[in-house]
């Protein structure tokens, strides 16, 4: 008997140690990544990053203004396309489709899109926007980012709207409100924190997306706000600058990565706060 107990105890202790080590390794690498991003990112901070455009090769000046502006335009356009489509599709699922076969099929397809590789979405945007237009453009990039963002918004708004209690809807219907009014004035309002969470998560997801932008927006060395032309943007700048041999370019890549990470983390934390507000009343 004691042999068995000893063996079990040894297995238990050994496994506990191994799992502790696994957790330490996992957390170690992730903290290492955060730490270097923080260190090099702050070292690369420079006022010129926000006031000057990306420098030509071989010069040792700093500047990312065109890329920041381009990225903001891209994200804004993607929100403009993605939020209405995602919200309305989620609304259809939660308010019209319910658990019908069609609605479940849409949910199934949406879940596949949720995990579709972003590079495929980039190829899609290339095929439907860039190829017919004949050149790269910010619009094409926004289409790609919107396609990446929509499934997230669809899913969260579907779930969040479904959480809204039936009594609230019934009260509105009893007052004689037509369905569209019930949805826009009652259920959307009741679920607004949850819907906003979905939008923020979607925004966080597309902020650092690089692969689809390589086929759609590409890059622009100059300051440009023409959405039908290639535009500078942070992710592609990070990609190109990191692979360059110039020290100042690599430094700028770190600075841009740092700002991206901070932006994404802030978005996720805010999303979490909203989500906490949704779940708290239960």
């Amino acid at each position: 008997m004691t042999g068995v107990i000893l063996r079990r105890r040894v297995t238990d202790v050994a496994s506990k140690i191994l799992m502790g080590v696994a957790a330490v390794i996992g957390v170690f690498f992730l903290l290492w990544i955060l730490w270097t991003t923080l260190r090099f990112g702050i070292a690369g901070m420079h006022w010129d990053l926000f006031t000057k455009d990306t420098p030509p090769p071989g010069t040792d000046t700093f500047g990312l203004r065109n890329a920041f502006v381009g990225s903001l335009i891209l994200l804004g356009l993607s929100l403009l396309i993605g939020v209405p489509v995602g919200l309305m599709a989620g609304t259809w699922l939660a308010e019209y489709g319910f658990k019908s076969r069609t609605a479940n099929a849409v949910r199934f397809v949406n879940d596949i899109m949720l995990s579709a590789p972003s590079i495929e979405i980039g190829l899609f945007a290339y095929a439907i926007v860039v190829d017919p237009m004949g050149h790269f453009s910010a619009v094409a990039g926004s289409v790609a980012l919107a396609v990446l963002m929509v499934p997230i918004i669809v899913r969260t708004s579907d779930e969040m709207l479904s959480l809204v209690g039936g009594d609230m809807r019934e009260a509105a219907i009893a007052l004689g409100a037509p369905k569209s009014v019930v949805i826009t004035k009652v259920t959307w309002r009741a679920a607004r924190a949850g819907i906003l969470t979905g939008v923020l998560i979607g925004l966080a997801r597309i902020t650092g997306e690089t692969a689809p932008l390589l086929f759609t927006v590409l890059n622009n060395q100059y300051y440009s706000t023409d959405v039908f032309r290639p535009m500078a943007n942070i992710p592609v700048v990070i990609f190109q600058f990191a692979l360059s041999p110039y020290a100042n370019w690599q430094q700028m890549a770190w600075a841009a990565a740092f700002i991206t990470v901070v932006f994404v983390l802030v978005l996720s934390v805010v999303a979490r706060v909203f989500l906490g507000r949704v779940q708290a009343p239960k």
């Binding site: 105890r9 297995t11 238990d12 496994s15 799992m19 696994a22 957790a23 390794i25 996992g26 957390v27 992730l30 290492w32 990544i33 955060l34 991003t37 090099f40 489509v85 309305m88 599709a89 609304t91 308010e95 658990k99 849409v106 397809v109 579709a116 590789p117 972003s118 590079i119 495929e120 190829l123 899609f124 290339y126 095929a127 439907i128 929509v150 479904s162 209690g165 039936g166 809807r169 219907i173 004689g176 037509p178 369905k179 569209s180 966080a204 650092g208 690089t210 692969a211 390589l214 086929f215 992710p235 990070i238 990609f239 690599q250 890549a253 770190w254 990565a257 991206t260 990470v261 994404v264």
Partner: protein, 334 residues
């Protein structure tokens, strides 16, 4: 799943809202338009998947016509100069780098998840779990940047050791022979593993937490050790969800572009050694797409995208089969 009350919903649907509002034509028109807009949006969201596949297939038609299917899949020659293109080395690169990532990430994620749910003292659980979940949101390009500029130089110092010891083992030693450059297939696999670790472990943690505490506490009451509870109670109870989480991580790894492109070395040649530079389908797309000069070249690259869709679909299909199989087992055991 979404915690709604089905009975309440049916009530609403059957309520004669439309009929009541009938006299107010303007509102009714608004209602009609709103409904149609919602239907259209849902259609768009669902059609995106089919449109993606169709558009990619359409744009790769020239390469399909030129190289066919089998010839493209089994040829490893990728030569823009002679305009001959084959996908084999990229398919192998994609599968091998993802396999390395899974081999490393799955045990680590499992350990991390069990550590958080069963072993860790209470005060440390939340910070670790929260940190890991936040890290899952970091853009993959940051992993790539870190891999290229921080990890690869460090790994280049370790590689001679790998070469000397692992490379000396007969058989699998072949995998670990090569120049210590710091970049290559193995590095790409490691970076991918670090990237998918937060996904897999947070899914595992989530499902471990839904194991009924009565079940776990009964096991503890019978004198089970922590390991026995984790391995014989928690894991069997959640295995289909755990496998689902693993495949979600695998899906990410297969399609990941930026984290791989920076560190894999981008070589079109097949090589037995994991230390040699290689390429995956996403990495070659990211690297060569903007430089592709001829129509056939672009079309072949998009064809690679189509092959990647096929690969991920096959993986997804296998995952669904495996999960169904496991769920059947779960039904019997609980």
């Amino acid at each position: 799943m979404n915690g709604s009350d089905p009975a309440a919903r049916i009530d609403i649907q059957s309520a004669p809202a439309e009929r009541k509002a009938a006299p107010r034509t303007r509102r009714l028109a608004g209602d009609f338009l709103f409904h149609k807009a919602a239907v259209f949006a849902a259609f768009l969201a669902a059609a995106a998947l089919f449109a993606t596949v169709a558009a990619i297939a359409y744009d790769s038609r020239q390469a399909i016509e030129t190289f066919g299917v089998w010839r493209f899949l089994k040829s490893s020659e990728w030569n823009p100069v002679t305009q001959t293109f084959g996908a084999l080395s990229f398919i192998v690169g994609t599968l091998v780098s993802s396999a390395i990532a899974m081999i490393l990430a799955v045990p680590l994620s499992f350990g991390t998840a069990v550590f958080i749910t069963e072993i860790a003292p209470f005060w440390i659980k939340k910070p670790i779990a929260g940190a890991i979940e936040l890290l899952a949101g970091i853009p993959s390009i940051v992993y790539g940047l870190w891999g290229l500029l921080v990890f690869a130089p460090v790994f280049a110092q370790i590689e001679p050791w790998v070469n000397q010891y692992l490379g000396a083992i007969p058989g699998i030693g072949l995998l670990f022979q090569g120049p210590p450059m710091g970049i290559g297939m193995l590095t790409a696999g490691i970076i991918l593993a670090i990237m998918i670790l937060p996904y897999i472990s947070s899914i595992m943690r989530d499902v471990f937490l839904i194991v009924p505490s009565s079940l776990r506490e009964s096991a503890y009451a019978m004198g089970c050790t922590t390991w026995e509870v984790a391995w014989h109670i928690t894991l069997p109870y959640t295995r289909s969800a755990v496998v689902g989480g693993m495949f979600l991580g695998l899906g990410r790894a297969l399609g990941e572009t930026m984290a791989v492109t920076f560190v894999i070395g981008n070589s079109n040649t097949l090589s037995a050694s994991l230390l040699m530079p290689s390429a995956t389908i996403p990495s070659v797309l990211a690297n060569e797409f903007t430089e592709a000069t001829t129509k056939l070249y672009v079309s072949s690259l998009i064809y690679l995208g189509l092959v990647l869709i096929a690969v991920t679909l096959v993986v997804r299909f296998l995952a669904v089969l495996l999960i169904r199989h496991l769920q059947r087992g779960e039904g019997a055991s609980t």
